[in-house]
Point group: C2
Chain length 365, copies 2
């Protein structure tokens, strides 16, 4: 029963206790600031800690305190199934929106001494759900981007740890945080149809199962139709939230000499990036020949030419809010089942055909 320096290196709490001449309980107390120890005790412990370079082991702490101080985050890695049944992976692309959200989660988590454990999944992989369940046992709670598990699995998972979905769907056992797709899309359609007078419009989608994508698609279609303009729709307008995916859609349409609409609303900015690029490569001018819009307002959207008209979401805030919701569940046992919707706003820049004004800096979200 000699718990001291086992030769492998790291000092344990026993080493500190011996060096300070106190019990391990006292060491633990000064380290965690519980039950204020006497100044003398505190000092001796602090000196010993500093001398030995002691840092408590995370696993032991977690096991004992029943708190890992880790939030697990799952993002979806893109894979796109092609028309011919093949698979095309755009893995090399950075996923700016999810990565930025994760930064928001992480910064919020730091304030609570939580760390971020990330796991990216390819939903076409055979056992990706096993990895998510394993992640759950390494974390105090999980934040799931998009829709990576079906409702049944989500319900099962929520029995392991609290779950917050980001841009997913709220359920009795999970809380959801997302942007207001409907309002954003309405504003966009109104601008495109009423202000610019476009008569034919298409929506270039993201992952087919993504709740964000579904909501944006539905709202866009309904609003366009309601406004009396023509909604160009169909399976060929299916992208995957990536620039390469968006570009591919355009390439194919152009290859089969399809008649393009006057305006294309993309599922997100990254898609719009690829769309603008593909159109330009083929000699089409944006917005001269065709208008293109995005969604999210990722920072690079502010450096593109033409400047991208898009629907702004408070990206980092989405992440921070998701963490806070999760933390309340983990820490205070707050109930699941909430649905938090953050506001979106239309940002009119150039790619819709608006005239470039003086450089517009969006106000901080």
């Amino acid at each position: 029963m000699d718990n001291s320096d086992p030769g492998n290196g790291q000092p344990t709490i026993y080493d500190v206790a011996r060096a300070a001449g106190v019990s391990i309980a006292s060491v633990s107390r000064v380290l965690n600031g519980r039950r204020n120890p006497l100044p003398d005790t505190r000092e001796r412990v602090e000196r010993a800690v500093a001398e030995l370079g002691f840092i408590p082991d995370g696993a032991a702490r977690a096991l004992s305190a029943r708190l890992k101080e880790v939030v697990g985050v799952v993002i979806r890695r893109p894979t796109v199934t092609m028309a011919d049944g093949g698979i095309f992976a755009d893995e090399e692309e950075s996923l700016q929106f999810p990565d930025l959200i994760n930064r928001g989660i992480e910064v919020a988590a730091q304030h609570r001494d939580f760390s971020l454990l990330v796991c990216s999944v390819d939903v076409d992989d055979h056992d990706y759900s096993r990895r998510i369940f394993a992640l759950a046992r390494k974390s105090d709670g999980l934040i799931l981007h998009d829709q990576v598990l079906d409702p049944d699995q989500l319900a099962r998972l929520s029995r392991q740890v609290p779950i917050v979905t980001l841009a997913g769907v709220q359920s009795p056992s999970t809380t959801n945080v997302g942007g207001d797709n409907v309002t954003g899309m309405r504003e966009l359609v109104r601008h495109l149809v009423r202000d610019h007078g476009f008569r034919t419009l298409a929506y270039l989608g993201g992952h087919a199962t993504s709740p964000d994508n579904i909501a944006r698609h539905a709202t866009f279609g309904a609003e366009v139709t309601a406004s009396g303009a023509a909604f160009t729709d169909g399976p060929q307008w299916q992208g995957n939230y990536c620039a390469a995916g968006g570009a591919r859609v355009i390439e194919r349409l152009l290859a089969e000499e399809a008649v393009l609409p006057e305006a294309i609303a993309c599922a997100n900015d990254q898609t719009a990036l690829g769309v603008v690029h593909a159109l330009t490569q083929h000699g089409l001018d944006v917005p001269g020949d065709i208008a293109v819009t995005g969604f999210d307002d990722i920072p690079v959207a502010r450096h593109l030419r033409p400047l991208l008209t898009t629907v702004r979401q408070p990206i980092q805030q989405l992440g921070a809010t998701a963490f806070q919701a999760l933390y309340a569940m983990v820490r205070d046992g707050e109930a699941a089942g909430r649905n938090v919707m953050l506001p979106t706003t239309l940002i009119r820049r150039e790619s819709c055909g608006c005239t470039p004004g003086p450089a517009v800096r969006p106000t901080a979200g």
Copy 2:
């Protein structure tokens, strides 16, 4: 001593053992595939596991097996100190290069059932090193981007866990993985000076302490000078690896009506993005009036106009290599002190003044 269902939810290995009518040791063995158990034992355990939805607790496993199956990653969040002493944070920007590297680390880690624990630090924060040391005790090893700790701290940290630096500097106690800055920069200068004939060139830097930045700066300056061209240098050319940082440098130079060089080599692509944008906003044409190049070849660089001439690094591969190096240290006790250098290649596109050819897809790295 009743270790069974404590009411809080998750079944433990004791519950499984009881349900299967075996000992917890047997449960552990079939779960971990050790010492092949009898088919009968295996089946009963597997049935009980499935019925109870048992997943081993990560902390308990880690404590007992002395392996957390977690790799900690530290990236540097941008903050830039302004000339007037103020602080300007570009926190809202996505850090595409580090994020993409992290994806590479994570995918490699998945193959070994490791997860990625990320921590972003602001080196101007007062106690960021405390957070890094805490991260170390939640991980089996650490990968540090850039230069986030000084050599002394690195040495101390390496006594806690194995360390791999990414684009850092190799030392006896740490292994480093990075791209070949010198060769890449040489090729770039040769192209700019010899092929394009530029006579005045500047380097717009990244973080001043970044080893990548230092190497690129030094090589660029030396090569330009050696070639007989003029190297424009000075503190006003200090960026921070972000688009906003690059744009700010240009804004200031323009504001003080400085004479711009014929070509600007940026520390990375993201900076180049901001530079191109700022120049364009001021009516300057890239590459007509001034050439701009990047470094990294991040995917968006392929969707910009003009297409960015840059030095390609095998980004995801850098991450995967860093993980593999770390894994060898964690698992096989491999010694630190290696330095792995991955090749870079010049990618000539349009922003240097080359004529746009047919769209060039770089071959997979």
